[in-house]
């Protein structure tokens, strides 16, 4: 059975840490270590490839996902197909993550392409453009 220490969440302090006056010792609290150990779920032979994931990244720092994208996953032979059915786009890869990343790159390309032509879009592409804007925000 695997175990983990209690996760540490911090936001770095905004100012410079002052030089300590003299040597300081910070106790690690070894006596409390046992209560910080989490028991993890361990399922060695289960298959958990999800059928859907909520995608929160396009893998392109030019864009921020502001509303998670519902991605359907479908295994085909040795590859996985990740589809965003709402705009009829898909990506492929040997795993869920790689397929999702491929989809992200496709979506980023599509956003740039539609952004450049947004004044000449037909009704279908106009609908795709609106959907993209609901989920994705370009970084300036």
């Amino acid at each position: 059975m695997a175990s983990a220490t209690k996760p540490m969440f911090t936001q770095p302090p905004p100012d410079v840490v002052p030089a300590p006056a003299g040597v300081k010792f910070v106790p690690f609290g070894l006596g409390e270590q046992k209560s910080d150990v989490y028991t993890l779920i361990y399922e060695p032979h289960s298959t958990h490839r999800p059928e859907r994931i909520l995608l929160g990244t396009l893998g392109d720092l030019g864009f921020r996902v502001i509303k998670p994208i519902v991605v359907n996953l479908e295994p085909r032979d040795t590859t996985v197909v990740a589809s965003w059915l709402e705009i009829d786009e898909f990506g492929t890869g040997s795993s869920t993550s790689l397929a999702a990343e491929d989809l992200g790159r496709t979506v980023a390309e599509l956003y740039r392409s539609l952004h450049n032509d947004q004044d000449k879009l037909g009704p279908d592409l106009r609908r795709v453009w609106v959907t993209l804007q609901e989920h994705i925000l370009p970084r300036r």
Binding site: A4, K6, P7, M8, F9, P13, Y38, G56, T57
Partner: protein, 151 residues
């Protein structure tokens, strides 16, 4: 799987800047700084099954705020079978500041050589991954035969 409608409205989708695997994450209680010891992406073992005695994960995220449930999954990339899963609540008090996340995991059981992937989720939204390989330890050839085997 969480439905979109059940996602907290005041917790935006964070952006993952870094997700790193190391031997241990040391958290300095005084300065709140993290030290990553022994960054790696290959783990060598002479045989499988084996146990990874100590493994640390570090993540740095931006553009979030509010309450999250962070989930880490470890999957075997051969068939995406899940080895372990860890969920923990996390509070992101200052939206303008990044959030650092560190966890040390002990005793990860590995059944086979190959590639493994840690996946990070916030409120069931996939943010990114960190991959490492478990490879067979190849001992170097001796330049001379071991004692007692000479002819």
């Amino acid at each position: 799987m969480t439905e979109l409608s059940s996602l907290p409205e005041n917790s935006p989708v964070p952006t993952l800047l870094a997700f790193l695997i190391c031997e241990s994450v040391i958290h300095d209680a005084e300065t709140q700084k993290k030290t990553l010891v022994g960054l790696f992406d290959n783990f060598l073992s002479s045989a499988v099954p084996c146990l990874i005695a100590g493994l640390g994960l570090y993540a740095k995220l931006v553009e979030g705020s509010g309450q999250y449930i962070f989930k880490i999954r470890l999957v075997n990339l051969k068939d995406e079978s899940q080895l372990l899963e860890l969920s923990t609540p996390g509070n992101w008090p200052v939206a303008e500041a990044p959030l650092e996340f560190g966890v040390n995991i002990r005793g990860i059981p590995v059944q086979a050589f190959g590639s493994y992937e840690f996946q990070l989720y916030a409120n069931d939204v996939y943010l990114g991954r960190a991959v490492f390989r478990v490879e067979k330890l190849q001992l170097p050839q001796l330049p001379f035969p071991p004692p007692g085997t000479e002819r």
